[in-house]
Symmetry: C2
Subunit: 475 residues, 2 copies
């Protein structure tokens, strides 16, 4: 595997590390490695300082006594050609440039600088990551550029032309229980690019789900090939941006990529058997679904929870998202009425009962829905924003009740999901956090809205159907 070494450098030099009182880049690319316990050698390179972040600093690469596997560049673009030459001399194997100011500027000078950089590196056997990128987050090797990214490794691999999307995806997915094998922000992709990276993740044994954010590619045919191969092995989820007129302008400026015609992209992704999503929120939803939700046999859902008007909106959201809510049969409704108080309840689907007050009805209710033939999946919706009271004593009581309810829900036999409705007000966040933690502990797929849950589950079913068609083509 040609790229494997970039995820396992035995030593790293951070060039342009400055030890000032407020040097954000040093904090990102050097202090993070120290903080999360990177095991290899770390060498700050600074022309003017003796030590940086408590480590001995070197004036340049050549002064470093030991071997250097990987170099991170924080210096201005104009100085990177000399640095690349130093890398070749020093026997560096990979060089990542946070440095921007290359082809993405749209200026001829920047494009030329990028070509020269790649030429020097390729001739000298150094792989270039970037320029204009964040580089690598690989928790198993304690490689990271962000101290709050999770330090445990997981099974999701992500490649991203955009550095900011790696912050969005890792943070948002981490809050939903997802962990990562390898994340690569490849920026302009001047050398190591989307095709090589997808191919790598497709074969990487640590990566079970592959996702990608792309704005463009230089070789659509090869991309289709690599994507198809990857999607034949693992779930692949893609965000392709820059498809509106203004977006294309932005994408072009962002990493110098040609955005291409959106319908061509749509076709390529579909033909490959990958799942295209609109944006990072939907990507996280798909990751949660692939990771935690057993495949339902169909799109019929039973929804339960407390809500009143929120229950009415529930139906709309589910159906807009592609799920079907079969009506509760009359005999079942009669059955439910035997043990659920009528006032304040709705015995249609969604089933709305004040179970947080009558927790003893919860187990028979969940059992009734679980043994009801029609639904393929159970969805429990919880709305922290409609809790009538937020006093500490009530909060504690609610959380204990829900914890008991979740234990009961988690042993139902049908595939199941939880919707913890997103809150937009500060005070609701305490409940939101507590509920999310509970869902993670039970390893149940959870979503911030019924629409998003429905959409992700529908895509999951569509993906599976398409996969089956591929594996057993009709004649």
């Amino acid at each position: 595997m040609g790229l494997d070494h970039i995820f396992h450098p035995r030593s790293i030099a951070v060039v342009g590390a400055t030890g000032g009182p407020f040097s954000v880049h040093t904090m990102m690319f050097l202090d993070t490695l120290i903080k999360i316990g990177y095991k290899g050698e770390l060498y700050p390179v600074s022309p003017s300082q003796e030590t940086v972040s408590g480590l001995k600093a070197y004036r340049n690469l050549k002064e470093i006594p030991g071997a250097v596997d990987h170099v991170t560049s924080l210096i201005p673009a104009a100085a990177t050609l000399d640095l690349a030459r130093d890398c070749v001399i020093k026997g560096v194997r990979s060089m990542q440039l946070f440095t921007a100011g290359f082809a993405e500027t749209g200026e001829a000078a920047g494009a030329e600088l990028q070509r020269d950089l790649v030429n020097i590196a390729r001739t000298g056997g150094v792989r270039i990551i970037g320029p204009n990128c964040m580089g690598i987050y690989c928790p198993a090797s304690a490689l990271s550029y962000c101290p709050d990214f999770p330090q445990e490794a997981g099974s999701v691999g992500f490649i991203s032309q955009s550095g900011s999307y790696t912050y969005l995806l890792v943070r948002m997915a981490a809050a939903r229980g997802i962990r990562f094998s390898k994340v690569i922000s490849y920026g302009n992709g001047a050398d190591v690019n989307e095709i090589e990276l997808l191919d790598y993740l497709s074969h990487d044994p640590d990566t079970e789900i592959v996702c990608a954010y792309v704005e463009g590619t230089r070789d659509g045919r090869r991309l289709l090939q690599v994507l198809s191969e990857a999607a034949g092995r693992k779930p692949v989820v893609i965000i392709k941006k820059g498809h509106t007129q203004a977006g294309s302008r932005g994408a072009n400026s962002h990493t110098g990529a040609l955005a291409g015609n959106d319908s061509v992209w749509e076709g390529v992704i579909k033909q490959a058997g990958a799942v295209r999503v609109d944006d990072v929120e939907e990507m996280v939803d798909m990751l949660v679904t692939f990771r935690f939700l057993p495949l339902p046999t169909g799109r019929r859902a039973a929804v339960l929870g407390v809500g009143g008007g929120v229950t009415v909106r529930a139906s709309d959201q589910c159906e807009s998202g592609g799920l079907v809510l079969p009506p509760v049969p009359d005999e079942m409704r009669t059955e439910l009425k035997r043990f659920v108080p009528l006032a304040g309840s709705m015995f249609r689907n969604p089933v709305d009962v004040l179970a947080e007050r009558y927790v003893d009805v919860w187990a028979p209710l969940v059992n009734a829905l679980d043994t009801w033939d029609d639904p393929d999946i159970l969805i429990w919706q919880i709305s922290p924003e409609i809790e009538p009271l937020r006093e500490e004593i009530v909060h504690q009581y609610m959380m204990e009740t829900r914890s008991r309810m979740m234990r009961v829900f988690s042993i139902a036999r049908k595939p199941k999901a939880i919707v913890v409705h997103a809150v937009e007000s500060g005070p609701g966040l305490r409940s939101l956090d507590a509920l999310r933690t509970m869902c993670q502990e039970h390893e149940i797929a959870f979503y911030p809205s019924l629409y998003r849950a429905a959409r992700a589950i529908t895509r999951y079913l569509d993906w599976n159907q398409q996969r089956n068609v591929r594996q057993y083509p009709r004649r």
Copy 2:
């Protein structure tokens, strides 16, 4: 104004208040009033207790020595007819029933109980609010059922068939700087209904913006009339739910209303000149827009902020939401390059500069966009989720920087909005909260996504256009 008295009761009896250690309903309907300083007399009514929440309790209504203007019912449905008779005898003017178990159950017995209740009340001169509702939140009178609703009054009036939507709207809108004049959860609307309430808010001098959540109505013709009148005076924003098949089933069960054909509703709302939104999130966006955004002259926006890939997504979101992003002219781009560092920047629209690091370029940049003829509106997008570091020192620095940037932004002449991108991870919430507070202090309209900002601004322009057509019909 026939309904005015329900917002100004001089005394309230809470019937069914229990003083136990964990009586949620008493906390909601009695303790809240004590906590927020309701000025009138408060009488708990409980058959078995001497005091409730520190107040002397009465065994029934008739025992209360003074006059009782308003009664809140927390007792079972079966006992409400006797209570209604007591209300008549006592000269009570309005009775709100949190109590459920009436027409909304879909059972003949519940519907009959509701008819009997209304008959007794109407005969005896008592107005009924509900049943199956939360009642009234009117901060100016210190009336509320939720201790965390804002205690300051504002200019938005809201009527809602659903009680849970009042929690959603008030809390979500409060976090965006919106305050309320009167909020009425009217539930089954057995007596006081959507038509009378809309008519009231339409004429209420304290209410500048009217919004409503409805699932159905008993008189479409009269509703259209009242809505048209209201929309002729004030912005009116409507959520109509229950329009998918499953939603209609839910709505019917929820408050016993007939949901009606959705396209008929669509026509009525449009003809009336009200703004129809899909759900509470969009309603909050419209409230923020009507309240804080000066009317732009058109739909061309200049977007600025830090983002990389987030900037690419920005263009898509704006254009999907109905705004147009005019391209930055060449001469202006040349001008910008004079004072903005090239590396890491994009000089198209969106304009993406690392101004958080180069805060001195912010003032000339904002000025350049403000004096640029093409855009009708400036939008600054901030993404807490892509902040590279969350250490306290960095957080402080970022917040001070953004505070300076916001002061500069707030004096631009064009209409302006801020997008503080929603975060879905716990750690990002600190920045989110701080940024929202800043926006509120400057009274700048802010939104959780560019799509939602664009959609709300577009609707604002459409609303205004329709209003102009109405006021000055073409011949």
